[in-house]
């Protein structure tokens, strides 16, 4: 039986949650990010498409979504960095019997907006949004999106019909934006009660109407807390920016070797700095020219620069999936991504140079970076005051 390695996480550590097709691996490093210690696999044999670290309200909680082909997908949590996982007798996420479908997988676990420190969201397959208002104790299906008239016409992409990205509004307006493959971008202005598609200008190569109201296969959307109406979108063919919260989208794909790709991540301090990893095509889902390159824009998509120092530049038949890139909040920011071939790469200088953290892992499907705080909550509050 496989032994699960445990980490001794310290205050200020950078923690990587690396979800693979065969379990969740944790990596820790001090803030220099020079050496990485690995723990895991947690849930050996199970796919982990989604994980999250919730450090709000003094919590030190890991969330993970192990998916068993046999017994289904579950949402579990740990308050001690994976030594024990809380797996309730009755799974946390379930579709109501009346929904006529069953939970196939959990694709995203996202904390709520800043003013709602006990709110959590999950995006799932079959595409739907679940919400918790009590820090994950109880969950409910978002009925507004579930009952949207478009939903019956959403169709599965290669990974299944999933809601994979959730962007709560950091500006306190009650706005919530999600992305569905394939369905597109949907936005609510009333905390999730009603929803409207926001796909104007985003193309769908695989439909007779290339610019439909909905049905786009959006792979990832990101925004920054300081400018939440500026949203970037990596499409199944297409790279876009919106400056009006998704009301309209502008093509920003000049200067990249391909506008096909999956992952996209935003800089922790710059709303105009975004990282992507172009893929050659949907027919050949590997990096162009056998060169593993991250591309960065620092001017909101006007120009893109390849970042390849330290990454394989020959015969690199690599694929990086939609949730397999993440940044930490340090300065300079660390960037991390994992490949379908089981490699994890890290940069501690915002992409200028890269190092291989680990190879030989199962196929990586998700990477999340977090800075851990182990200081008591009361002490931090006094300091903040």
């Amino acid at each position: 039986m496989v032994a699960t390695g445990q980490l001794s996480v310290k205050d200020g550590d950078v923690l990587l949650l690396v979800g693979t097709m065969k379990g969740l691996f944790l990596f820790r490093s001090g803030e220099t990010r020079k050496r990485w210690e690995m723990g895991g696999p947690h849930f050996p044999g199970l796919a982990v498409y989604a994980s999250a670290y919730d450090g709000r309200q003094g919590r030190r909680r890991l969330w993970a979504a192990p998916q068993s082909m046999h017994w289904g997908a579950e949402l579990v949590s740990s308050d001690d960095f994976g030594r024990r996982w809380d797996q309730p007798e009755v799974p946390r996420l379930k579709f109501p019997e009346t929904a006529g479908t069953s939970l196939a997988n959990i694709w995203q676990i996202a904390p709520g907006p800043p003013e709602e420190s006990d709110t959590l969201y999950c995006g799932v397959q079959t595409a739907a949004l679940f919400e918790s208002k009590d820090a994950g104790k109880t969950w409910a299906l978002n009925e507004g999106l579930w009952n949207h008239p478009h939903r019956a016409k959403w169709t599965p992409g290669g990974g299944g019909l999933c809601l994979h990205t959730i962007l709560p509004d950091p500006a306190g307006r009650g706005r919530l934006t999600v992305a569905v493959s394939t369905g597109g971008v949907y936005r609510s202005e009333d905390r999730g009660r009603t929803w409207t598609s926001r796909n104007t200008g985003v193309r769908a190569e695989y439909l007779p109407d290339r610019y439909p109201e909905f049905g786009q296969c959006v792979h990832k959307i990101v925004h920054h807390a300081s400018r939440p109406d500026r949203v970037f979108l990596q499409n199944h063919w297409g790279l876009y920016r919106s400056d009006d919260g998704g009301d309209s989208w502008k093509d920003i794909a000049r200067g990249v070797p391909s506008d096909f790709g999956f992952c996209m991540a935003i800089h922790p301090r710059s709303p105009d700095t975004v990282f992507i990893l172009p893929i050659e095509s949907d027919g050949f889902r590997c990096v162009p020219e056998g060169k593993l390159r991250v591309y960065r824009t620092s001017d909101a998509g006007k120009s893109w620069k390849p970042l390849s120092r330290g990454l394989p530049q020959k015969d690199a038949f690599e694929t990086v999936l939609r949730d397999a890139m993440s940044l930490d909040g340090l300065d300079p920011a660390g960037i991390y991504f994992g490949t379908r071939s089981g490699k994890v790469f890290a940069s501690r200088d915002e992409g200028r140079t890269w190092n291989l953290v680990r190879e030989g892992l199962p196929p990586v499907v998700s990477v999340k970076a977090a800075i851990v705080s182990l200081r008591p909550r009361a002490r931090r509050s006094r300091r903040a005051a």
Partner: protein, 96 residues
């Protein structure tokens, strides 16, 4: 006569770590027997059947040596005494 249900290893934590659970008295169908199993161990239910109440695609339920999928599913009638086995299907492995 009792009905004996074999619990697969990964689900035993949801059945008091038991490998076998005995249901007292007869059950008319496989579904009725499983409902009684859920009543004893609620954590088993959603891991064996979907929210829609159907047996998960990669889980098999046998009555004796017969897979209920080849019979009448959860409506498969049960003899007064029998053994039920819940087993992971060989089809459940990940492709990657």
């Amino acid at each position: 006569m009792p009905i004996e249900v074999t619990i697969p290893g990964p689900l035993r934590p949801f059945a008091g770590n038991q490998a076998r659970v005995t249901l007292a008295g007869p059950a008319a169908t496989a579904g009725e027997a499983l409902e009684r199993l859920w009543a004893l161990h609620p954590g088993l239910k959603n891991r064996v059947v979907t929210e829609q109440g159907t047996i998960r695609p990669h889980v098999n339920v046998f009555v004796g040596a017969d897979n209920v999928r080849d019979l009448e599913g959860l409506a498969t009638p049960l003899p007064e005494s029998c053994e039920i086995a819940i087993l992971p299907a060989v089809s459940g492995g990940k492709k990657n």
